[in-house]
């Protein structure tokens, strides 16, 4: 008896390849998606009764192709005759062909002409193989809204003729960055839910890591892709230590490091070493390197803060941002004390960020200025976007002397 969960898992892992190949064959991402979805529904009906086919992957590809051809015939589509001649990749073909299609599909879904939320939804639906209701739940939007978002995005791809191809070299750096940004956003959405009460939404985190892993397989020579994977894995390694029994956030410095997943730490550190060896550093590699430095320290006080500050300097040189400047100030506090850190924070424009005010509050608290610290915590709490973070800040405010 094949369980529904097993069928869902198989489709999640295999359908991206089928969608990618059929998009190339039929020139229409919607046709490809619907055909694979039809195959999924057929599998849900048949497999529990007949058992798994010998090659589920091949079955999905062939069934979906036949569904697409049926549909085109029914709709008397002018591409139908062409579709009859469509030749599927056979198991003897080099795997490169399917991988090229998958890469094209990823670049299509992450095209900068699409809105960010559309890129994320498309990538999860078409590349990662999630079902629309799952994506809607993960992003806390009603299912019809998510379905509409996907329809609109696919419509734009078709109407505006967004190309299904790996971008030319001249655009590759920017376009890879756009793909990495989508995966990073998926991870972050799962890691720190921006709304709601549940701090960690594991499914999004593991999907993001799966996507990043796959991207590294598809683009092994892209050090930033390896850097992103390393960053996500090292962040994920601290998952068990990040939230306490009541679901409250625990800062890196206060985490029980014995709860860190040693296997993930080792894998992440190895990836960091591998990409840094290429000597083509970029923002994700540098952030991954910082995460690796933290992972090296058996206790918070063993952290090599001079290396962290140096990595922030490199990061800010390449990708200047107020957030990076704030995080550098936090590292500087550990290296040189709260006073220079507070001075650095004064030059940063992040008035709307609860993290900025929380950081200022922390420095003021350490400098023994309780009134100012409590006032800064009040602003941070008012700006916090999820319950776990607000609760954490209230606790810190209490420690700083607030009532």
């Amino acid at each position: 008896m094949v369980e529904t969960v097993e069928i869902e898992r198989l489709f999640r892992h295999q359908s991206g390849k089928a969608v990618a190949t059929l998009t190339r064959l039929f020139g229409d991402v919607s046709v490809a998606e619907e055909a694979v979805q039809d195959a999924f529904l057929t599998a849900l009906r048949r497999w529990p009764r007949d058992g798994l086919p010998p090659s589920p992957e091949g079955w999905i590809m062939v069934t979906a192709r036949n569904r697409a051809i049926d549909r085109m015939r029914r709709e008397a589509n002018r591409q139908a005759r062409q579709a009859d001649a469509v030749v599927l990749p056979s198991p003897d073909d080099p795997v490169d062909a399917v991988m090229d299609d998958e890469l094209r599909l990823i670049f299509l879904c992450c095209h900068p002409a699409l809105a960010m939320h559309a890129r994320v939804a498309l990538t999860l639906r078409l590349v990662a193989g999630l079902q629309t209701p799952e994506i809607a739940r993960a992003f806390l939007v009603p299912e019809p809204t998510m379905a509409q978002r996907l329809v609109r995005a696919k419509r734009k791809i078709q109407a505006a003729n967004i190309p299904f191809r790996v971008p030319p070299d001249a655009d590759l750096v920017d376009r890879v960055a756009a793909v990495l940004a989508v995966i990073y956003l998926v991870y972050n959405e799962g890691h720190t839910a921006s709304t709601g009460t549940e701090l960690v939404r594991d499914d999004l985190c593991s999907e993001a890591i799966r996507l990043a892993r796959h991207l590294v397989e598809l683009m092994p020579d892209e050090p930033e892709a390896v850097g992103l994977l390393a960053l996500l894995i090292l962040t994920q390694s601290r998952r068990a230590a990040r939230v306490d029994a009541e679901g409250l956030l625990i800062r890196l410095a206060d985490q029980d490091r014995s709860l860190w997943d040693r296997e993930l730490v080792a894998e992440g550190q190895e990836l960091v070493r591998a990409c840094l060896r290429r000597n083509r550093p970029g923002p994700y590699q540098l952030q991954a390197a910082m995460a690796a430095v933290h992972s090296d320290a058996a206790a918070a006080e063993d952290t090599d803060w001079s290396q962290i500050v140096a990595l922030y300097d490199q990061l800010i040189e390449r990708a200047p941002s107020q957030v990076a400047a704030m995080n550098r100030a936090i590292a500087l506090a550990e290296l040189s004390g709260p006073e220079p850190a507070l001075a650095a924070l004064d030059g940063i424009d992040l008035e709307d960020s609860h993290l900025y005010h929380a950081t200022r509050a922390e420095m003021l608290h350490r400098l023994g200025r309780p009134e100012l610290a409590v006032a800064a915590y009040d602003i941070a709490i008012a700006l916090a976007t999820n319950d776990a973070e607000a609760a954490f800040l209230r606790r810190r405010r209490g420690l700083a002397g607030g009532t």
């Binding site: 095209h111 002409a113 003729n161």
Partner: protein, 115 residues
């Protein structure tokens, strides 16, 4: 191949552009038009007079009513446009980037429905 409308958007009522800047923009646009024609992507292009020269015609109960001024009364107005035939959106976006540089204004890229 897909045809795209590249429309140049200006903010209405913003201070007049200095004459020499305007002249430079015209020269840049001329040069771009030449390139577009040489490359075979050019279908049509034109600059428009200011929005206040527009007249709107609408039919109400079978009768044509005319009103002065642009439709709608938006802050941003189309100052000119190109119609280009390109292989795909990426090519259209490349041209749009050059158009935005030449016109010093944002350019919207929108696909035509298939004829």
């Amino acid at each position: 191949m897909t045809q795209y409308l590249l429309s140049v958007h200006y903010v209405d009522g913003e201070g007049a552009t200095p004459a020499e800047e305007l002249e430079a923009a015209y020269a840049d646009v001329d040069a771009l038009n030449q390139t577009l024609q040489d490359k075979g992507v050019w279908v049509f292009a034109g600059g428009l007079h200011e929005p206040s020269t527009a007249t709107v015609v609408r039919v109400v109960d079978g009768e044509a009513l005319m009103t002065d001024g642009p439709f709608p009364e938006a802050k941003e107005q189309i100052g000119g446009f190109w119609i280009l035939e390109c292989a795909d959106l990426d090519e259209a976006l490349d041209w749009a980037k050059q158009a935005a540089v030449a016109c010093k204004a944002p350019v919207e890229v929108r696909p035509f429905q298939d004829a």
